[in-house]
Symmetry: C3
Subunit: 277 residues, 3 copies
């Protein structure tokens, strides 16, 4: 169980506020520190592309892997702010609590991790300066940050609102899994593009093991690009495109000291098909 | 009164150092931590456009709203570094202390908040490694950061230098207030553009209440763009331009999941006129 | 000697992960906090150009100057990750420990600071979740961050691996020093370009003192740009190019409130020659 009081209290932030919206992140930190100055807050990634549910899903999944137990992830990628969309607190079995809007951002988390409990956040007593008006444009600061801070400060998770079932969450199945289209054709989605131009896919190593045992060539459908499965960047030749298990444990399209994204003309949310032959 | 010793000690940073100048921010944090390792430092916004007094004014104003009492804001947007411009410590009645150069960055703060005291920072004993030469290119690190750290660590504010009057500050009146040009014409300035392309103006809700009660249409002068006052992003139709009270409590030009800045061709410091008819 | 236990424990991060790779930085922070939640972590500069050894060398040098004694710098600019390149812990005589790959990033540090000891990091007991597989794509998280955290938490430096000699390091001599090509010609390298467009060179003030005493004009070879040595930005006229001792104590090409990089068409790693006449 997620332990609050006395246990480690770290909040990691994921937003699409970007460099120009760094003060929105700063305001969330200020609100958290106002509630409990001893809470430690770290930036996970505040440069999600505006409104990108796909990227947010990936970064939540990525962050859960390395955070210490009893950490909270606060993900404010919230194009529906001000509408009736729910705000959720999702607790994994490895004791990470993820707080964010119910718009699909939990799609990868719910596939890759066992979920223990989910609550819909509705308890106004835990909102920003309870009593004051809550904005209809920035629930990250007015609702999610203070709720996260109160939990980090010892408030029981169950107090945030009523428990809901995982089936009630908005899940985008295209994000969670690569798809076996044919015995030699895998359909996948680009989840993220990093600064080096590496393209993280939703393909797991096991998804292609069978194909790899039967075929020796891989091509990206719709292009002539031949792809080689490698273990590390340095295995690649200049201008060669590789498929490699990245630090996310998902397969990445990559090049050696060069941008695969630029070379292939792909970006997050792009659909791809890998043909084995 | 701003309480130092024993009270909460948080310093929030605002600079125009940008992503390529992150090490300048890092150096200020290093200096602060050298003076007192227990001071908590958060980034407010280090991506102010180079030398933009207007943007800095807005971000200072924005940050004051959410920081806990007895926090310090350190704003290093300082195109005049090395000249005779003053460095100030401005204390608000809600117990936030803002330290920065006297170049107009306090323009919005002094209009929106009651100011209790202002000091000109001149006490060299509080500068970086007192005794060593102070650079003429980076007073953020050599003067402002150490002074902020000493105050956070318990030094009385009054020791930084002599008290000065608010009338001695450089204030840009165009920043502080929107202007009633005519009974149906409001002149305003774009204070900031965020990553989503929202354009924060210096118009307050009350500035347009009267016009809104008398007219039903709003147009941006010099364009054919019709503007609708809304409460939240989702009230807008696709491609419609809205005017909405943002989380800053100032009115923002906005679009639904789209960049108003790009659509309107406006950016910070642009002057606009809203015509009601 | 670098003191671990009980002394100040601050880790400063330098990476080329950029805004899109902020979650890699976040993961390193998560790993550090997992080992010891009391370690303080600050960003020095995570926006090094991808794979730029030259920029990394400069930022390491820059950071060492202001960090408190007994701080650790963790520099993950590591194009050779997964190859046989060494990972080092380099201790300066002013008690800063720098951890990073042996690929030339220590080139400026070893010239400008006295080095006390150097160790090659090989002790797998200090790696990430000892026992688990170490990735071949992200040693910053799996090796360097946990080793840094263990040292900050009190582990003796000597336990990381065997001591090596400074002569065994990869050093790029072009980075460390400007070169006297002729009695009136200085060859130099652009080490860094900041957000304002200032270009930091590897020229020290003393490198040009002699020339300055003998000649009164300076020109950038291959262009007609005349250059004036000044003390502060405000000494420059509009459109004039200055050479000024920056906060790094190295000479910078600069303009007044304008980008010298843009004006001169130079960027990091560019070679330049200053002709005195």
């Amino acid at each position: 169980m997620f332990k609050q009081q006395g246990s480690f209290r770290l909040i990691g932030l994921i937003t699409d506020f970007g460099s120009r919206g760094q003060h929105y992140v700063g305001a969330m930190k200020a609100v958290i520190k106002s509630i409990d100055k001893h809470i430690s807050v770290i930036d996970i990634n505040n440069n999600i592309s505006p409104f990108s549910i796909t990227e947010a899903s990936f970064i939540i999944y990525y962050a859960v892997r390395d955070l210490p137990e009893n950490s909270i992830i606060l993900c404010v990628v919230d194009p529906g702010v001000g509408t009736e969309r729910k705000i959720l607190a999702v607790e994994t079995e490895n004791n990470i609590l993820v707080i964010g809007p119910d718009n699909g951002i939990f799609s990868l988390l719910c596939v890759k991790y066992k979920i223990r409990r989910i609550f819909e956040i509705t308890n106004k007593d835990l909102y920003y300066k309870s009593g004051k008006a809550i904005s209809s444009t920035f629930h990250g600061k007015d609702i999610m940050a203070p709720v996260a801070a109160h939990i980090a400060a010892g408030c029981e998770i169950g107090l945030v609102g009523k428990s809901i079932r995982i089936n009630d969450l908005i899940i985008d199945n295209k994000i969670g899994h690569a798809e076996v289209i044919d015995s030699n054709l895998i359909g996948a989605v680009i989840l993220y593009q990093d600064e080096f131009g590496n393209l993280v896919t939703n393909i797991e190593e096991k998804d292609i093991e069978d194909c790899l045992s039967r075929y020796k060539n891989i091509t990206l459908e719709g292009s002539n690009n031949s792809i080689r499965v490698v273990e590390k960047f340095s295995d690649l030749d200049k201008d060669e495109i590789g498929l490699l298990k990245g630090s996310s444990e998902l397969m990445e399209l990559t090049m050696k000291n060069k941008s695969a994204a630029h070379e292939l003309g792909l970006d997050p949310s792009s659909k791809i098909q890998l043909k084995f032959h």
